[in-house]
């Protein structure tokens, strides 16, 4: 186990967790509004290439991340239109989004293979970052790591304390009741879907611009699906989603470090461990039927059609 530094491990854990945290937070808001969007993987990969392309062309990572959010949101608009206006099946439409996103991103990304994107700078905290341990672990990152944490707090406060958050949850619990009260169910859900798309796009761009950083086809490698699982793991609560994301970031980083350190465990077993752990956690979380039923939005995945 020599050669693995705890400080470095924890620092890279935060980086590894950020993309799935963004995507999972966005999806959580979408599901809170009663919509199941299985296209997270497609929106992430679209965000990854949009962000990468914009950053390379303009030389600005900031514009890249904005482009990624727009790309993810743009793709999610298709989902919003199909499921909210044309009342299509949400599971099938989400899958279509993922299939299309994978092809579409590969198409745009052809000219960008093997290019290095402009570096996203770390925030300079000055003398504070010289504090041993805390400095290198917590204060050595780029702005998006902190934005993801701030976003967690923001989503939490929005859902818990604001009137808009209450309405969003009401729509997710019973769209008929919310509709009868005069709330625009379709509009509110569409807004949530676009927000989820933008965050998934940001998460994708974090993979292609910071974490890897380069472009390869299908580079998100299931991160979107892990984000979907995280929402269940977090029982639709923002801080638990954050905890889950950091846990998975930890597992990912640890298995990569163990591979590099040449531990006598088969490499395949290490590579599949994040997926296996995700499944295991899903099983544990969903086996308690009462708890899942208490937190899951009641109208999740159901089609809303105003009959009058």
């Amino acid at each position: 186990m020599a050669g693995i530094s705890i400080e470095l491990l924890l620092a890279s854990l935060m980086v590894a967790a950020t993309p799935i945290l963004f995507a999972a937070l966005g999806e959580m808001v979408v599901e809170k509004s009663g919509v199941l969007n299985l296209g997270v993987e497609g929106m992430m990969i679209t965000g990854a290439i949009c962000g990468f392309a914009v950053a390379v062309e303009t030389g600005s990572p900031t514009l890249g991340f904005i482009g990624a959010a727009l790309g993810g949101a743009g793709l999610s608009l298709i989902f919003a239109f199909l499921t909210q206006v044309l009342l299509s099946n949400q599971v099938a439409t989400g899958l279509a989004l993922t299939l299309f996103g994978l092809g579409f991103s590969a198409l745009i990304g052809q000219g960008y293979v093997g290019i290095k994107p402009p570096a996203t700078p770390d925030i300079n905290f000055g003398a504070v970052s010289d504090i041993p341990f805390i400095g290198p672990v917590l204060l050595s990152h780029d702005v998006l790591v902190y934005l993801a944490i701030a976003m967690t707090a923001g989503v939490w406060a929005f859902l818990k304390f604001t009137r808009a958050g209450l309405i969003l949850r009401a729509v997710g619990e019973s769209h008929d009741a919310a509709h009868a009260l005069g709330y625009k169910v379709v509009l509110i859900r569409s807004a949530a879907i676009v927000f989820g798309g933008a965050l998934a796009g940001l998460g994708g761009a974090y993979v292609s611009l910071v974490r890897v950083p380069q472009w390869t086809e299908g580079m998100t490698a299931g991160a979107g699906w892990i984000a979907l699982a995280l929402v269940v793991f977090g029982a639709w609560r923002p801080w638990r989603v954050l905890l889950g994301a950091y846990l998975f970031g930890g597992i990912t980083v640890l298995q990569l470090n163990l591979q590099a350190a040449g531990v006598r465990v088969p490499v395949e077993l290490l590579s599949i461990s994040p997926y296996l752990v995700t499944i295991l956690v899903l099983v544990i979380m969903s086996s308690d039927r009462r708890r899942v039923a208490m937190n899951a939005p009641a109208a999740l995945g159901r089609v809303f059609h105003a009959s009058s």
Partner: protein, 361 residues
């Protein structure tokens, strides 16, 4: 003002028409995409949909490919459609396809170089069993722990891909292959080969199995109690429970059947067109089959036609790549678009479009 009014029953006319409308819509949108890529849209569409079948120069080569590609797509999509009808979402067919191929090939290679005629049938059985077992993981977790089968079956695809890479580099690597990754080539070993049965048609055992699956699924859905239970659960889950349908049993059957068929498809592919286990063996058939199942309206005959059409886009895609330099990814995006259009026009079969103010009820 445009309103949608729910039909009491899905329109039969539109159920048949929507796939056609969707294909036409995709051609227009796809043409637009090709135009943006700087290709002549008409030429691209013709290369994809017309040339593989009727062009004097290529048709002789590409026509047999139609059945080669359609076979696994139809076989997998038939299994998926049963589950989709009952509201059981197995979207990890790609994983079951890979595991089926690995298990079947593994058993076959253990018997190398036996010349017994039983080798291929045994491999097929083990392949189906492998796919079945892989699908049983989400099925059991779903029935025992209420775990979402969508996420589990999908995550297992990534696990299967890792196992595939590991097997082709280690366990199943050809000992006479000079250290190159990949297993022995089954086409060069008569007892295990899945050859073209009628020369020039592309027909192999997998295609035969696909046709049998179409007939079997059709008979089951229209004549058999299980088929009725599947249809009933899909349209009215509560009514189904009252009618005595066991939901646990139905989940196990639907996932098990689709897994077994996907595993078989994988085995036929590895012993036939692919020839060997290699790192890039997983070709995305398991995902494309989802589009095929929907395009075929989850109906066996529809799936047969949809599988052929989707196979055509594969072959036409390769042809347009070769002839016009259209990137391979464009075809993938094109197939995704098809599913979008299909889901979009589906509204017409379930709802009536009314223009004007609502009347007095």
């Amino acid at each position: 003002m445009i309103r949608l009014e729910k039909r009491p029953m899905p329109s039969r006319l539109w159920t048949v028409l929507t796939p056609i409308v969707a294909v036409l819509g995709t051609m227009v949108a796809g043409g637009l995409m090709f135009a943006l890529l700087g290709k002549d849209p008409f030429e691209a569409i013709r290369t994809i949909f017309y040339d593989p079948l009727f062009n004097d120069q290529f048709a002789a080569y590409s026509r047999p490919q139609l059945l080669v590609k359609a076979g696994p797509l139809i076989l997998i999509a038939i299994g998926l459609s049963l589950g989709f009808r009952a509201g059981v979402w197995n979207i990890g067919a790609e994983g079951q396809y890979i595991i089926g191929a690995l298990c079947g090939a593994g058993v076959g290679l253990a018997l190398y170089p036996s010349e017994s005629f039983l080798v291929l049938p045994l491999m097929v059985a083990v392949g189906a069993l492998g796919g079945w077992a892989w699908a049983m993981i989400p099925a059991v977790l779903k029935t025992r722990f209420n775990t979402n089968e969508i996420l589990v079956s999908l995550l297992l695809v990534y696990v299967a891909e890792q196992l595939l890479a590991s097997a082709s580099l280690g366990l199943l690597r050809n000992p006479d292959g000079g250290g190159f990754p990949g297993s022995r080539n089954f086409q060069q070993w008569e007892a295990a080969a899945n050859p073209e049965l009628i020369s020039g048609t592309g027909m192999h055992w997998g295609v035969v199995a696909a046709f049998i699956a179409v007939i079997g699924a059709y008979t089951m859905l229209s004549k058999h109690m299980l088929g009725f239970q599947i249809r009933l659960t899909g349209s009215a889950p509560r009514a189904a429970r009252f009618a005595g349908v066991n939901p646990v049993r139905l989940v196990l059957i639907c996932l098990g059947l689709s897994g077994a068929l996907a595993g078989m498809a994988g085995l036929f592919e590895v012993t036939g067109p692919a020839g060997q286990i290699s790192i890039d063996f997983g070709s995305g058939y398991g995902f494309t089959a989802i589009i095929v199942a929907f395009l075929g309206r989850l109906h066996p005959i529809g799936i047969l036609l949809a599988g052929l059409l989707m196979a055509l886009t594969y072959i036409g895609g390769e042809l347009s790549q070769f002839m016009l330099g259209v990137p391979a990814a464009a075809i993938q995006a094109f197939q995704g678009m098809l599913l979008f259009f299909l889901l979009a026009v589906d509204v017409l079969s379930n709802y009536r479009v009314r223009i004007g103010k609502p009347g007095v009820a």
